[in-house]
């Protein structure tokens, strides 16, 4: 079981909830793929506040302080 943290509550409920949403009709194949894995217990999604979202480093340019804080969280040590 791998835990994946994600900062979007809506997505997390989609991974758990088998009901069909009209708003998400187009999110089909990927939707079922992820839900199947969650059902099989291979992965689990957890909510994480944006402030602690380590993956932010990988999608945008950040200020010095924020980047420093986040990269420390995944084991990059400056000293």
């Amino acid at each position: 079981m791998v835990v994946i943290r994600c900062d979007n509550q809506g997505v997390i409920s989609l991974t758990k909830n088998p009901t069909h949403h009209a708003q998400t009709k187009h999110i089909d194949v990927q939707h079922h793929f992820v839900r199947e894995r969650v059902e099989n217990g291979e992965v689990r999604f957890e909510y994480c506040v944006t402030e602690h979202m380590v993956a932010d480093v990988l999608i945008k340019a950040l200020s010095k302080e924020r980047r420093h804080k986040l990269i420390n969280m995944f084991g990059l040590e400056t000293s």
Binding site: M1, V2, V3, I4, R5, C6, D7, N8, G10, V11, L14, T15, T24, H26, I27, Q30, H31, F33, V34, R37, E42, V43, F45, C48, M53, V54, A55, D56, V57, L58, I59, K60, A61, L62, S63, K64, R67, I71, F74, G75, L76, E77, T78, S79
Partner: protein
């Protein structure tokens, strides 16, 4: 890589051309395998792992920590591109600058070794520096037609590296052996075609083991869709790691 398991004893052999790393949780078994291998092949025992493919490995058994650095490799590339005396800077990628396609087709950066530089940095990114993944992915999108702006961004990365030469990727700070992943997406981050970017990182015992920053192949019409696509990528990676 070869893996063997007999009872509680696990054995890993990593081969890269003519270099071998042997890993085993039983010291006696390790010595025995080493003995057997050296009878079959002509080989030299260099003792505990220190240097492999440009990575330097430090191990502190008292603190139960393992650290990977690339000081040697980074110094080499800084020297190679004559940036060894540049002034260090803290900002890796200026949040205000949006790198765009070189639209007017001017070959301003002719003669700059742009491709070589980005390639060398990519190697550093793959082994130790998850923080470089995003800038490198941005810069590699302009490999064919870079302009002055891209070149300045490259130089800024060099200055950042100059300031963070000693940075180490550290494992063992948290005892939990569970794999923990983080997954996120921006939405429409690419100013030209509005495609979003997926970013994920997976960690074990407090250190990053797998990371990626990649532009999504499909345009997402909502943030939820963008995040969902990111989570699909993350799930695929998680399944791969588990197997």
């Amino acid at each position: 890589m070869y893996v063997a398991q007999v009872g509680d004893v696990k054995f890993f052999i990593v081969v890269y051309v003519d270099d071998l790393i042997l890993v085993c949780n039983d010291q006696n078994k390790l010595l025995q395998i080493k003995e057997e291998l050296s009878q079959k092949f002509e080989m030299k025992d260099l003792g505990e792992l220190h240097f492999f493919l440009g990575m330097e490995v430090e191990r502190s058994r008292d603190e139960r920590l393992l650290r990977i650095n690339q000081i040697k490799y980074l110094k080499e590339i800084l020297k190679c591109f004559r940036m060894e005396e540049c002034k260090p800077i803290g900002v890796l990628l200026d949040p205000k600058v949006k790198l765009q396609r070189n639209a007017n087709g001017n070959d301003e950066s002719k003669g700059f070794p742009y491709q070589q530089v980005v390639g060398s940095l990519m190697y550093a990114m793959l082994y130790r520096q998850p923080d470089l993944a995003y800038p490198i992915s941005m810069l590699s999108q302009h490999m064919a037609n870079p302009n002055m702006e891209h070149w300045m961004a490259v130089k800024q990365i060099f200055r950042y590296l100059q300031g963070t030469l000693q940075m180490k990727l550290q494992f063992g700070a948290t005892p939990s052996k569970e794999i923990l992943g983080y997954c996120d997406a921006d939405w429409g981050g690419d100013l030209e075609d509005r495609r979003s970017t997926t970013g994920f990182v997976f960690m074990i015992v407090g250190g990053a083991i797998s990371w990626s920053s990649k532009r999504q192949p499909t345009i997402a019409l909502s943030t939820t869709k963008a995040e969902y696509m990111a989570n699909t990528q993350g799930t695929k990676e998680a399944i791969w790691i588990q197997n």
